[in-house]
């Protein structure tokens, strides 16, 4: 019996060395064949859909914020907190994501403006996270390389549960910004942020901290919690939707493989969640073809679904599917959910996916 090596999720450790040595780092990934003409049409940029969605987004944010101020001190404030929290603490994640890719709008500065606003809402350093996300796309769920693995193995279920409250992320994100504002980047951060970009990361952190300090000052001056409820704290009370949708992207699936069909999940979702999430429920499609804007992902899905595992019909279905896998990973961290391909799909390439660290699979 062989003993599997434990995963080291540091980006400068043993798993990093192994990923580079085995060719998993910066590898060539599987892509479904799509004719150039069709792909070119899907990749086309347009400002229209994102301008429409952003106007709705901003109006809803301002409207719910006004409701919070107006009804503060009464129970009527609760629905406004609910809406504002989700818009601020959850939908900002998909805006950060799409605008970071530069695909939401055709016009570059529009992507940049929304990217920076959304990064602030999420307490994410816009420079650091641009680079971490580039790494996530290069080395998706490659242990020791991917800086954005949400649930590591063996899974810490308490931590995963607390993620829905935003407490852990808040406790991580704010001190991280403070540390960066004082000019210190961690070794992991330095491993994926190029040296020439690192001073920009420090400057960005200082701007974010300055706004939070100003918000606290206003709250003290007004002797009111409202400024903090509107800026900063939604990262706590409004994060649950981002976590509910985002955890499903990769949880329970294979790691250390170079086929997004094995490590990424597409889930059908209701229209409200899709608006909040900007269609990132089509996540296999997004990872395979990150050039395709969010509004074209449903079309891309129709075009390539013959080559992908069948999408989960709902979030509930996906969580029911993954829960027993997580429980089993508590004892056997190599265990994962290997998703079935339809008969029309090209098979998984065994030589890429049969490494010892992904030896056990549930079919």
């Amino acid at each position: 019996m062989t003993t599997a090596k434990k995963r080291d999720y540091s980006l400068v450790g043993e798993s990093t060395r192994r990923a580079i040595e085995t060719g998993l780092a910066s590898a060539e990934w599987y892509h479904t064949d799509v004719a150039r003409k069709a792909m070119k049409e899907l990749m086309q940029r347009s400002d229209g859909p994102a301008i429409r969605d952003t106007i709705i987004w901003i109006v809803a944010i301002l409207g719910s914020a006004a409701g919070i101020v107006w009804f503060w001190g009464t129970w009527w404030v609760v629905p406004f907190l609910f809406v504002y929290g989700v818009l601020y603490g959850s939908s900002s994640d998909s805006r950060w994501h799409e605008c970071g890719h530069g695909t939401a709008f055709r016009t570059r500065w529009m992507n940049d403006v929304v990217y920076h606003i959304a990064s602030f809402m999420l307490m994410r350093n816009p420079v650091q996270w641009r680079w971490s996300h580039a790494r996530h796309h290069t080395d998706t769920i490659i242990v020791g390389r991917d800086a954005e693995i949400a649930v590591m193995r063996p899974p810490d279920l308490i931590k995963a549960g607390l993620a829905f409250t935003g407490i852990l992320d808040f406790r991580y994100s704010l001190p991280t910004l403070v540390r960066q504002a004082f000019g210190t980047l961690s070794d992991d951060e330095k491993s994926y942020i190029p040296e020439m970009e690192q001073p920009k990361a420090v400057t960005a952190a200082r701007w974010h901290i300055a706004v939070y300090v100003a918000t606290i000052a206003v709250a003290i001056a007004l002797r009111s919690w409202i400024p903090l409820v509107l800026i900063g704290l939604p990262r706590l009370y409004g994060t649950w939707h981002m976590v509910t949708t985002g955890l499903l992207q990769h949880i329970g699936l294979a790691d250390n493989v170079i086929d997004h069909r094995l490590n990424t999940r597409t889930v059908y979702m209701n229209p409200v969640s899709r608006f909040i999430y900007w269609n990132m429920n089509y996540h296999v499609e997004h990872h395979m073809f990150p050039m395709v804007p969010y509004h074209a992902l449903p079309k891309l899905h129709e075009l390539i679904k013959h080559d992908l595992p069948v999408a989960n019909p709902s979030m509930w279905h996906a969580y029911r599917e993954v829960w027993p896998v997580l429980l089993r990973q508590l004892k056997y961290e190599d265990y994962y959910l290997k998703r079935e391909l339809p008969p029309t799909a090209k098979p998984y390439r065994g030589e890429f996916h049969d490494l010892d660290i992904t030896a056990a699979a549930a079919e």
Binding site: S26, R45, G102, R106, V127, R130, A134, H137, F289, M291
Partner: protein, 104 residues
């Protein structure tokens, strides 16, 4: 020293599009701009090894298919993170319906 090689026929590249051209163990990207001019650059993104011919041409910009890094394909200029290193460009001429690039 100039070394002109035939890369493709004019009609092989759609307007506002790009194709791949491999020669002598090297890979190039051949562009046709919206105003019907031809340009050539190294084939691979300077950020990571992704071929630009799978990317998207918009006006003067080629966007890498892997991380959406953008270059001006006429000048090779990198337009911001995650691309920081400029792209090498090559002289191009069109002769008798053929696109020639100087890879020397």
């Amino acid at each position: 020293m100039a070394e002109w090689v035939e890369a493709c026929a004019v009609e092989d590249v759609d307007e506002e599009d790009v194709i791949r051209f491999d020669h002598g163990g090297r890979s190039f990207a051949i562009y046709r701009s919206p105003d019907d001019a031809f340009f050539a650059t190294d084939g691979f993104c300077t950020h990571e090894k992704a071929h630009l011919a799978d990317g998207l041409v918009m006006d003067d910009i080629i966007e890498c298919p892997k991380h959406n890094g953008r270059f001006n394909y006429k000048t090779g200029q990198a337009k911001g993170a995650p691309v920081c290193v400029n792209l090498k460009t090559y002289p191009v001429k069109v002769e008798a319906g053929k696109v020639m690039i100087d890879i020397g």
